[in-house]
């Protein structure tokens, strides 16, 4: 919290932030409003080409009122802005002019609890305690080293052998590790919904009845069982567990398969007995996504639909995915298995994907009834009103199935029992390491 308080005025179009005094950067410099202006403008500058620019692009102008006061003028009211600053993607504050002096791809100076000492790609990242961190006495650790070990077996072995005190593990290994003396396994839901983007511009998937029928044929719990060994919760568009914006998993439609209903709907759409082919893309980089695609393939067979699962190397997969978005659905593919990870505001799971002018709309999905609702939901400040709008939008989306949403997985982290004070975050980031310490 680098801002101590903030005020909203002008109908939600003007934010004034009062900065915490005497916040020190890792290089000893004191943070001022100039640094804030510089950092945010850098994200907004198209030349920086930040993939997270859209989180901030309602900001039209940033003014330095005095060294500890920043005013931001928006082109439209946007209640998600505070979330964007808390989103830890592009919201770090750096000293003015840093990007011009340093290679920020491997170096960093910020205000956080740990300062970056060294980053050796493919080997390790070393942090040291920031002695002037504003939130004293945090952090407790003198430093941390992250060893880059992509091989799961090697991570688990290193943890068992005591060479590391913390590891990110999958559901299977979490099961094996729980009960091992000296190791504890942490588990919590993370804001990341596994889903399939559908290119809705081409037949037969352009017909919502076809999309819905195929979705109805799949058993969500089977997907969860096979993809992440049961360690997940069914989810709608906004991840289950995300504030109070999500649909209660108990009320979600089609968690259980409904083959008869699906057949009827397909017949209505003009495909009695199926008889068409679809193609589902996924990348073996994420085994859970492949398993999800395979369950879908198997399930829609019951409707007479021949689904082909195409596994692609990640780079090829994202390239095809980008082609769909860029070409408005004309090229690239039909169905993409992926995930939407943490967004600072519920808007991030909805508007960019389903608004007619959304920036990542797969194949020009457009619902004239939903558009104004989505526009309204991202510009009003009354929580209850916003919430009921998002609930209503999600229900309609589930009905029209422009995406197939499956589940929110549990995140497993294993630590040595010596690690104390650490807790997981719903964001899936590890920022609470600042509260961790090592016992004996």
């Amino acid at each position: 919290m680098l801002a101590q308080k903030w005020e909203l005025s002008n109908g939600g179009k003007t934010y004034v932030f009062h900065l915490r005094p005497n916040v020190k950067f890792h290089n000893g410099q004191t943070m001022t409003a100039e640094d804030v202006k510089y950092s945010v403008e850098r994200v907004l500058d198209p030349k920086s080409a930040s993939p997270w620019r859209s989180w901030f692009d309602t900001i039209e102008e940033i003014k330095v009122v005095d060294p500890l006061t920043v005013q931001m003028n928006l082109n439209a009211p946007y209640p998600g802005l505070l979330g964007s600053f808390a989103g830890m993607r592009a919201s770090g504050i750096v000293p003015k002019g840093l990007a011009e002096r340093e290679n920020l791809k491997i170096k960093a100076i910020g205000t956080g609890p740990f300062k970056l000492v060294e980053y050796v790609p493919q080997d390790h990242i070393t942090y040291a305690r920031h002695p002037d961190y504003w939130d004293q006495p945090l952090p407790y650790l003198d430093g941390m080293t992250f060893k880059i070990l992509t091989e799961e077996t090697a991570r688990v072995a290193a943890l068992r052998a005591g060479q590391i005190q913390y590891a990110y593990v999958n559901a299977q290994d979490a099961q094996q590790l729980s009960g091992v003396p000296g190791i504890k396994v942490l588990k919590n839901l993370v804001a990341s919904v596994t889903l399939q983007y559908i290119n809705v511009s081409k037949k037969p998937l352009s017909d919502w009845r076809v999309r819905k029928a195929l979705r109805m044929a799949v058993d969500t719990n089977e997907v969860i069982q096979k993809a992440v060994f049961g360690a997940a919760v069914p989810s709608g568009p906004i991840p289950s567990g995300y504030g109070d914006w999500y649909l209660d998993p108990k009320t979600l439609p089609y968690v259980k398969p409904d083959i008869e209903g699906a057949k009827k709907l397909l017949a209505e759409a003009g495909y009695p007995g199926g008889g068409f082919k679809i193609e589902i893309k996924c990348s073996p980089q994420y085994p859970a996504f492949v398993a999800t695609a395979l369950v879908v393939q198997d399930s829609v067979k019951k409707l007479g639909v021949d689904a082909q699962v195409v596994q692609q190397e990640w780079g090829a997969f994202v390239a095809d995915n980008a082609t769909v978005v860029k070409s408005g659905g004309k090229e690239g593919g039909e169905i993409f298995t992926s995930g939407n990870s943490f967004r600072p505001d519920p808007d991030g799971y909805i508007y960019p994907y389903f608004h007619t002018r959304g920036s990542v709309n797969y194949g020009q999905y457009s619902n004239p009834k939903l558009d104004p609702l989505m526009q309204q939901a991202r510009s009003i400040f009354n929580h209850d009103q916003r919430r009921s709008l998002y609930i209503q939008i999600q229900r309609t989306l589930l009905d029209e199935s422009p995406n197939w949403w499956w589940y929110v997985p549990y995140n497993f982290e294993a630590t040595s029992t010596r690690v104390q004070g650490y807790s997981q975050s719903f964001t899936g980031r590890r920022f609470l390491l600042k509260r961790a310490w090592l016992g004996s």
Binding site: P46, K47, A49, P51, W52, R53, S54, N103, K105, I106, V120, P121, Q122, D123, H124, T145, K147, I148, L149, T150, E151, T153, A154, V156, A157, A158, R160, A161, G162, Q163, I164, Y197, Q312, E313, W314, G315, A316, F317, V318, A319, D320, N321, A322, K326, F336, S338, N340, S341, P352, S359, V360
Partner: protein, 315 residues
Amino acid sequence: MRYLLRRLLWMGAALLGVSALIFILVRLLPGNIIDIIAGTEGQLSRSQRLEILHSFGLDRPWPVQYALWVWSMLHGNFGWSFRTSQPVAGLLVSRLPTTVELAALTVALVTLVGLPLGILASITRSARLKLAVQIVGLLGLSIPNFWIAIVLIIVASFAFHWLPALIFVPPWQDPWVNLQQMFLPILSLALGLAAVVVRMTRSSMLEVLGQEYVKVARAKGLGSRVVLLRHALRNALIPIVTVLGLQMGFLLGGVVITEQIFGLPGLGWTLLNGVYQRDYPVVQGAVMLFAITFVVTNLIVDLIYTTLDPRIRYE
């Protein structure tokens, strides 16, 4: 001398061919650095994409990009990594020692184990020993080394509760820790390669031992050790040295998965990561480095032939 000159010219031609091939191949891979940066979640507008393309020089026509790359390489500049903006030459040079150490120690271990075992297998009369060597050889050849690597990690940590320090320590900082870190990777690589060398040594030795001059040497009354090592082995060595040389070349470029599993920051993993990231300068630079080491190793092997067998002369 003339031969050497001709060889060097051919090496240059081969390297030029490799450079053109890798330049085109990386660009034919679907997806580029921008797709990777954006992933499926980031949102980049068309103008942002063009801006990044331009900043990497990827908006120029291919022939221009290629010419610029080759030209700067001739001046010792391998370009800058797209992902980290570090100079590629510096990056590769910092990664080279790990890979060279891994390759050299593996070949050393393979030679120390494979050669004596192969000789033993060729002269023994024990049917059991022959069978044992053959079985070990077959297993070594058929088991992929990444599988052995994972099994070794599991055995070390579960059975012995031992694993070396994870952050890589170069040998000049602490040779003992470095050797511990290299132990499992070398073992996983050496098992398969030693099998090849054992089989090669055995068959090569058997062939030579059946030759007339070996009988003559024995008939002269020379000791069996002298016959074996001075007469037989020296002549049997040529195919073995060829195999070892090829293995060295293979190890210098082919330890990608081993490096990844053990988290060793070597050239192989750097290359693989470059491919995943579509970091063209890194991929191109690493492949050129592999190509250079490969042709140089081959040259050295060919030159060793002449000292092993003076009959071999290059004109």
